[in-house]
């Protein structure tokens, strides 16, 4: 069937609404994004399918990721009129018992994360709430009442975890492709662009450029225009784009279609990391399905509008996230950036006008058209409208993907949503913006997170990685880590970046090895400012940020490394050693058992000894001890 009108979409929605919300059988949805699979979801899925697969009134399905990675594998079970229950940490050994727990109505609280209330449809208000007659359970919290979820607001992640990513029909049932078809029917190019401009949407890939203005400029240049999606999510610690592609690939395709209709383009490209094989697979399935329904290809939806999407896989180069490097790579070249005196919206891919946005930006676009720019602009902060997805990782209790309105404070994100730092350790900093960003210390925790506020404290929004660091994280080592990364990823074209980063890294490595000298901090500052001013592309101009912000906020740690030759966090091996606090040690023998070098000796229930000559400082005893008896000196 080819979609030719809004009525065609309505028909699909009516047909699949029942299957999605009121299944005839008990439906078991297993979260099958990369995190879930890595935690064991695939084995659970196979086991459940073998045991039931349509028998005994149970149907087993896959969904994407609902974001709470810490509790993966997550399994949702529901049936018509019955409660929608999300079970947590359901590995292979528990899956059959879990299904039984639901069908027998036991609802073992220990296994349950919460119950889903209304999987808020995009068309809220336009179609009746599909979940009104669901029986809810007492004493089991709704997801939106759980701290991890209650400050979240989902736009880009609206369908993630609710639908089967391989089913275009389920996407359509949740209001998918309606924005695009409506735009084709009701709006001309200028109107679409105006709507995106009015929404205040800024690019979610890091730079924060106004999306509507980018579209307008691109549409203003003549030639074969290209729509490109940047799915080369290279920032270490950020995986929101992977999750969107794996859980809701059609939202990105629809966003690209709207961009193509607005700008006037017939060819799109998705440049996706080779490290994300599942995302590539789901994208291919999604593109084929969209072609089958006539939403990609020729005469789309019966209009004089053609658009195709080609997937291009990267081959592992961080710098290819930069627009000109990405386009060079798309052309089959080495991914080296060029100076941008002519912007890519004028001359980009194949020397033609090219519009590049990232995955999350495209995923926002359909919602803006459906709900209207005004409504969208009500969400978020002054200069940064809408929501942003962050990957909350590192030393934090509730790791996962969170989507929050812009302007929410770091404290809310780290402590309320994230649950704070585990094991009663002390919070030290939160790193945003990946290798181009900075480390934000405790004193700025009340900062509202948006593009402009983060810039003020020397960091950037970046693509949304948020890595929490605690007392055991050495800030000098973190700076060294990022420079090591950037040195490897620098394309080597321009001297300030190629040589400058290397020099800074040499100084930092010396400091971490105990060979720091007076004046090193000043030298790092001078080199950093030079690299910022003189580098060719964004990689170089932002490379010194992690060093400069750590010097600004954690100068005392640098000085301890240089003057006292001490690493108080216990990371830089030449600068610390472990000791056992004889007063705190209970003689539980756990550390002695796990020490790979046999460096810890002692009798049961008596304080243990650590033989310094044998110790390789692997940290296993430090992590193992429950009594804080292993201390960093």
């Amino acid at each position: 069937m080819r979609i030719g009108s809004i009525e065609d979409l309505d028909a699909i929605r009516r047909e699949y609404r029942m299957k999605l919300y009121y299944p005839e059988t008990i439906k078991v949805n297993i979260g099958m994004a990369s995190c879930g699979i890595a935690s064991g979801a695939k084995v659970s899925l196979e086991k459940a399918k073998n045991a039931f697969s349509g028998r005994n009134g149970v149907k087993v399905n896959q969904t994407g990721c609902i974001g709470f990675c810490e509790e993966e594998p997550l399994v949702e079970i529901f049936g018509a009129g019955k409660p929608r229950v999300i079970y947590k940490k359901i590995t292979e050994d528990k899956i059959l018992d879990t299904i039984q727990d639901y069908t027998e109505g036991n609802f073992n609280k220990k296994w349950i994360l919460g119950q889903m209330n209304d999987p808020r449809s995009l068309l809220e208000g336009d179609i009746p709430n599909p979940m009104t007659d669901v029986t809810s359970l007492d004493e089991i919290p709704f997801l939106e009442d759980i701290p991890f979820y209650n400050k979240q607001f989902k736009i880009a992640l609206r369908n993630c975890g609710y639908i089967d990513p391989d089913s275009i029909e389920e996407y359509i049932t949740r209001g998918g492709y309606l924005a695009f078809v409506k735009a084709l029917v009701d709006m001309d190019q200028k109107e679409i662009i105006q709507e995106i401009k009015d929404s205040g949407l800024r690019g979610r890939g890091g730079g924060g450029f106004l999306t509507g203005r980018k579209w307008e400029t691109c549409a203003g240049h003549d030639g074969n225009r290209y729509i490109i999606c940047n799915a080369d999510e290279g920032d270490p610690g950020a995986y929101m784009d992977r999750s969107i592609l794996e859980s809701d690939p059609h939202s990105v395709i629809e966003g690209m279609l709207i961009a193509a209709a607005a700008i006037g383009s017939s060819q799109g490209f998705i440049y996706v990391r080779n490290e994300y094989p599942l995302a590539v697979k789901r994208l291919i399935t999604a593109i084929k399905a969209a072609e089958k329904y006539g939403l990609l290809g020729k005469n789309i939806a019966g209009f004089d509008f053609n658009f195709n999407i080609k997937i291009s896989t990267g081959a592992g180069a961080f710098v290819c996230g930069e627009s000109t490097a990405l386009m060079a790579s798309l052309e089959g070249q080495v991914g080296r950036p060029r100076a941008k005196y002519v912007h890519t919206v004028e001359k980009g891919f194949r020397q033609s006008p090219s519009n590049l946005n990232n995955v999350e930006t495209y995923a926002n676009v359909p919602v803006i058209l459906l709900k209207g720019a005004k409504n969208y602009a009500k969400i978020g902060a002054d200069g940064s409208k809408g929501t942003k997805v962050f990957s909350l990782v590192g030393k934090i209790k509730n790791t996962g993907l969170v989507e929050i309105p812009m302007g929410l404070s770091l404290r809310d994100i780290v402590f309320d949503i994230g649950g704070g730092v585990p094991k009663k350790k002390k919070f030290k900093a939160v790193q945003t913006g990946g290798p181009s960003g900075g480390c934000i210390p405790e004193q700025f925790l009340d900062l509202g997170v948006d593009f402009d506020e983060l810039n003020k404290v020397g960091s950037i929004m970046g693509s949304g990685g948020m890595i929490v660091m605690d007392q055991d994280t050495c800030m000098v080592d973190v700076a060294r880590y990022f420079l090591d990364f950037l040195q490897e990823e620098s394309c080597g074209q321009c001297t300030p970046c190629r040589e400058g980063i290397k020099q800074m890294l040499d100084i930092l490595t010396a400091i971490c090895n105990g060979h720091g000298q007076g004046g090193d901090i000043e030298r790092l500052g001078r080199l950093g400012n030079m690299i910022k001013k003189a580098s060719l592309c964004g990689l170089g101009t932002s490379a010194p940020n992690p060093v400069l912000t750590t010097i600004l906020y954690f100068r005392d740690e640098y000085e301890l490394h240089i003057k006292d030759k001490k690493c108080p966090a216990g990371v830089c091996k030449p600068l610390f050693h472990y000791e056992i606090d004889r007063n705190a040690c209970t003689g539980c023998t756990l550390c002695a058992k796990r020490c790979p070098e046999g460096a810890i000796t002692g009798e049961k229930k008596k304080p243990h000894n650590l033989v310094q000559e044998k110790c390789i400082k692997c940290g296993i005893c430090y992590d193992t001890c429950k009594f804080n008896a292993v201390v960093v000196k």
């Binding site: 990675c69 180069a317 080495v334 990782v393 590192g394 796990r594």
Partner: protein
């Protein structure tokens, strides 16, 4: 990325290149289109587990692209290897989240245990060690990926046990 070591010619001597298969990759799968060069080279690496020199020379001649450009691509992007790799590829994630959770210690342990460094292969071709920057499983950090299996929450004393599972 390691360059070809001229002192060890045996490393690619025993690979037989199936030129019909290369033709299929170049012409049928990727339409002899120079823009698809990176994906063509990826397809060759999937087939041979590395990039045998004769295969690169062949695509250069077949597609009319200078060998220097192909060599440029093969050495610029980190997924490509000009040296044969082991039967099992260990990818240690050193993304930021894994780094702050002790990924570096896991790396030291694996390097020590196999007696190889990043990018190297063990003598009997059992393991190749690679470090990667973020595979997007940050919640499970520190993470080690062996072939297609992701092992999460790894501590350095578990690595040997896990490696034992791979022959």
């Amino acid at each position: 990325m390691n360059a070809i070591d001229p002192s060890r010619p045996e490393q690619y001597a025993d690979v037989e290149i199936d030129y019909m298969a290369l033709d299929k990759i170049i012409e049928e799968d990727f339409y002899n289109n120079k823009e698809n060069l990176i994906m063509i080279i990826q397809a060759i690496q999937r087939r041979y587990n590395y990039l045998p020199e004769p295969s690169l020379k062949y695509i250069a001649a077949k597609m009319g692209v200078p060998l220097s450009r192909i060599f440029g691509i093969a050495t610029f992007y980190s997924t490509f290897s000009l040296e044969p790799r082991g039967r099992n590829i260990i990818s240690i994630c050193l993304g930021t989240a894994c780094h702050v959770r002790g990924g570096e210690r896991v790396r030291e342990r694996i390097e020590g245990s196999l007696n190889i460094k990043d990018g190297e292969t063990t003598d009997e071709q059992r393991f190749t060690l690679e470090t990667v920057r973020c595979i997007g499983c940050c919640s499970l950090g520190p993470v080690v990926k062996i072939n297609e299996d992701v092992h999460g929450h790894i501590s350095s004393d578990q690595v040997e046990k896990i490696m034992d599972r791979y022959e």
